[in-house]
Subunit: 206 residues, 2 copies
Amino acid sequence: MITQNKGAILILSGPSGCGKSTLLKEVYKDISDYYFSISTTTRASREGEKHGVDYYFVSKEEFEKDIEAGNFLEYANVHGNYYGTSLKPIMKALHENKLVIFDIDVQGHKIVRKKLNDIITSVFITTPSLKELEFRLNNRSTDSKEVIQKRIINAQEEIKSFLKYDYLIINDNLQEASKQLVSIANAARVKSKLSSLTIIQDWLEA
Amino acid sequence: MITQNKGAILILSGPSGCGKSTLLKEVYKDISDYYFSISTTTRASREGEKHGVDYYFVSKEEFEKDIEAGNFLEYANVHGNYYGTSLKPIMKALHENKLVIFDIDVQGHKIVRKKLNDIITSVFITTPSLKELEFRLNNRSTDSKEVIQKRIINAQEEIKSFLKYDYLIINDNLQEASKQLVSIANAARVKSKLSSLTIIQDWLEA
C-alpha cells in the first residue's frame, strides 16, 4: 500500500516588481497545508516590518554563529548584510508533509536546488516585458530612483536564469497567473521523485 | 513582450486497471484546448471500437509504409501487431498551441521523452497496491483469467519505471486524482523550457 502527499518544496523567484507578493497573497487561500519559509537577516528592520513575519531579524554575531553551526540551508552576504534560510523549520515542515514555499533569489535557488533537487519544484515569475517592470516599479513609488535603477539592472541579469526553473509564469493577468501557480503547487506534491525506491516493494507487497 | 501557452505534451502511463480511462474522462471538462492523440494499430478492431476514436485501424502494409516514410513518433510491435503514434496530427496540434495528451506505455514514453524532452510532462498512474490492481482487473470482468494474469505480470514490471516520470498519481480516490491530473495538465503549459532562449531578447526589448 502506497500513499502520497509527502513534504515538498516550492521555490519562487522573480525580479522585484514582478508582482510575486501580490500573487502569493492571492493563492494562499487555494493551497492547503503549506509553510511559508521566513528568511533570517542582519539588516535593520524597516518601518512596518515585523520580526517573525517579514524576516527573523538577528545580530551579525548570531548569524555567524548559525553559519558555523551549519544551521542555514543557504545564505548570502548582500551589500554587507546577511540573508539566509534556516534549515530547522523547513525540515520540521517537510516532516509534517507540508508544502514549504520559498521566496528566494536566483543564487539561493541554485544552492537549494543542488542540495534538495528531488523534492523541489521551482517557478520563475516575470512581467511580460522589461518596460512593464520599469512601469510597475515607478508606479508603486516605494523606492528611490536609485533603487529602481538597481532593481532593473538586477532584473536584466536574473531573467537570464529562467531556464534553470521548472516553470515560467508571465504575470500579466493576476487571475490567470494565480491559477497557474495553484496548479504548479498542487503538482509539486505528486512529483514522482518524492517517493523513494522502496515504494515499489510496498506496492508489490501490501 | 513575451507570451505563454505554447503547445505542450502530457504523457500518461500506468498499468491496465489503474483507472486511467475513467480518470481521463473525468478531467477532460477541466482541461482546455487539448488534443488527445489516437494511436494507429494493425490489430483487428474489437466490438464497439471505432476507427478514429479508439484507434486508427490500418493494414500491416500501410503501417510499414508509414514506418519507412518516418511518419511515426514512436511505434512498437506487440505480439505481432503494430501500435504507433503518428507524428503529423501531433505537430499540427502543437503548432496550434494545444496540449497533446498521450496514453502510451513505458516503452513509448521512453522513446518520446528522448525525442521531445523539453516539451513533455509525464505522469505515471497506479493503484495504491498490486492487490488493489488485481481486485479491479477481476472486478471489471472484461478480460479472461489468462489476460488478467498477463496484465499483472506487466504491471509488476511497469511500476519499476515510475521514477522516469515527472509525476506519480496514486489513483485511490477519483476526485483527488482528478484534481492532481488537472493541476499537472495546467502546469504542463507553463514549463519554462517551452520558451526558447530568444525569449530573453524579447523581454528586454519590447
